[in-house]
Symmetry: C2
DNA sequence: CGCGCTGTTGAAACTTGTCAAAGTTTGTGG
DNA sequence: CCACAAACTTTGACAAGTTTCAACAGCGCG
């Protein structure tokens, strides 16, 4: 096995990822696998890839071959309609998977764009399927991950279908907070990697509406906003905001 | 093999389904399996279950054990928030699968309700996983089905996030039309199984708005509505309606 | 150091929701 | 088989929320 730490010219495509060394066990696929099984998975995860901010990991229409595990960084996925309409369908962070949408037609159905310099593990899908046939735990975990994505999408549908602007933004901030927390970051303070327009697109709102909601939250002492820097001052307040549903 | 047509007391739970006889090959799981493989699947699909209109196939919170293939009938799934908000997340028809959301937490995360008398095949999930480990084609097909669900959800997010009332309803009708067509029914004439309120819930609109949009489509000669009976008179018109996006 | 992208704020327009009333269909029990 | 109640649908008038358009401020990249 090559020594990855040696100071030598780096061939990006060749650097092997090692699930066994990765500190994302609980977030990514290797959950609950034996040491031996993780080593098999190592063989399947073919390469790391680095992306600069703004770079596409894949584009809608491209052939689907692999799914990607985010090692570090931050992504958005978005869908484009023929008529030019566009919507952000999700924001993904460390330990989350990208590309599941491509399995269905063997073509990616959305664009994945790095919102900051990022690094992903490439997992050739047919290898993953192969290994899933051998390792029951892996198979089941993968199914759970796909199912979780479906449940998550239902949550977004709920948000888009039943919540008003400020509720949507509160839900969004609370969701980010919770995901940062799960990764060991502060639940109350973080930088947004996306623009107001991208937030709006995700939440089904115009950027101005997002901006106004931020301002309103600030006036009410719920958060402190300074551009992309967010501090949540009153988590309970944000949560309450969401349970005051309009009527029915 | 028992003769299912014999006039004898029927024990619902015992009647075996036979994928091999089923005319839903292309819609359900057995796509592209060999004869032999389909027979293995037969063994896994444990029982049929009949539901009356209004009956729940499963409820949110119940333990997840099986997924269901709709043999005949029509369902809705909906999600309930603690605060009483509710949203229909989908309508499912013959040949489609129900229950994929439950894999993630081993609990169903939504309710599935029959909107007309219906019949489903119960597919114990661990059996399906087992068989997937043996039959590559089945495994891959199942992954595609899950992925297709994710892509479908993205479509709904798009609809909820970027379209206005009439566009949403047009998209909804076109989608139904297309799915009926795929099942050999008329593309232009069908009965809605759901109420205006359920349509509204799915589309993120109030029932009055749905009703008004129907009326407007009728005035414009795009469709003929009589309660739940819909005839599409001008498919192109409906499609055009959707490409006149608001602005950007 | 300035230009462009991003974000903020205001006022007016528009879309959808709310409330209310009346019409229609469906299902049930007499 | 009819009658009545309940559920569903339609329509109108008004209110509320969000978008649109516009102007300006701020930050950051080159």
């Amino acid at each position: 096995m090559p020594n990855r730490k040696a100071a030598q010219p780096i061939s990006l495509a060749v650097v092997k990822t090692a699930c066994s060394n990765c500190n994302l066990h609980e977030l990514c696929l290797p959950l609950g696998l034996s040491h031996e099984e993780v080593e098999k998975l190592d063989e399947v995860v073919s390469a790391r890839r680095r992306l600069k901010r703004g770079e596409h990991l894949y584009r809608a229409g491209e052939e689907f071959n692999s799914i990607y595990a985010i090692r570090s960084g931050f992504f958005k996925t978005d869908v484009l309609l023929e008529d030019g309409r566009e919507q952000v369908t999700g924001f993904q962070m460390t330990g989350e998977l990208l590309g599941l949408d491509g399995i269905s037609t063997e073509q990616h159905s959305c664009n994945a764009v790095a919102l900051e310099d990022s690094e992903v593990c490439t997992i050739p899908f047919s290898n993953l399927e192969g290994l899933s046939r051998e390792i029951k735990t892996l198979q089941h975990h993968f199914h759970k991950v796909m199912s979780r994505e479906i449940v998550r999408d239902h949550g977004v549908m709920m948000l888009l279908g039943t919540m008003r602007a400020e509720e949507r933004l509160a839900a969004f901030l609370l969701n980010l907070s919770q995901r940062f927390t799960a990764r060991g970051y502060s639940p109350a303070e973080f930088y947004l990697r996306m623009t107001r327009e991208e937030i709006g697109s995700y939440l089904g709102l115009k950027l101005e509406t997002v901006s106004r909601a931020f301002s309103r939250f600030q006036e009410e002492g719920l958060i402190a906003v300074q551009q992309k820097h967010i501090r949540i001052l009153n988590i309970t307040g944000l949560k309450q905001l969401m349970s005051h549903h309009p009527r029915n």
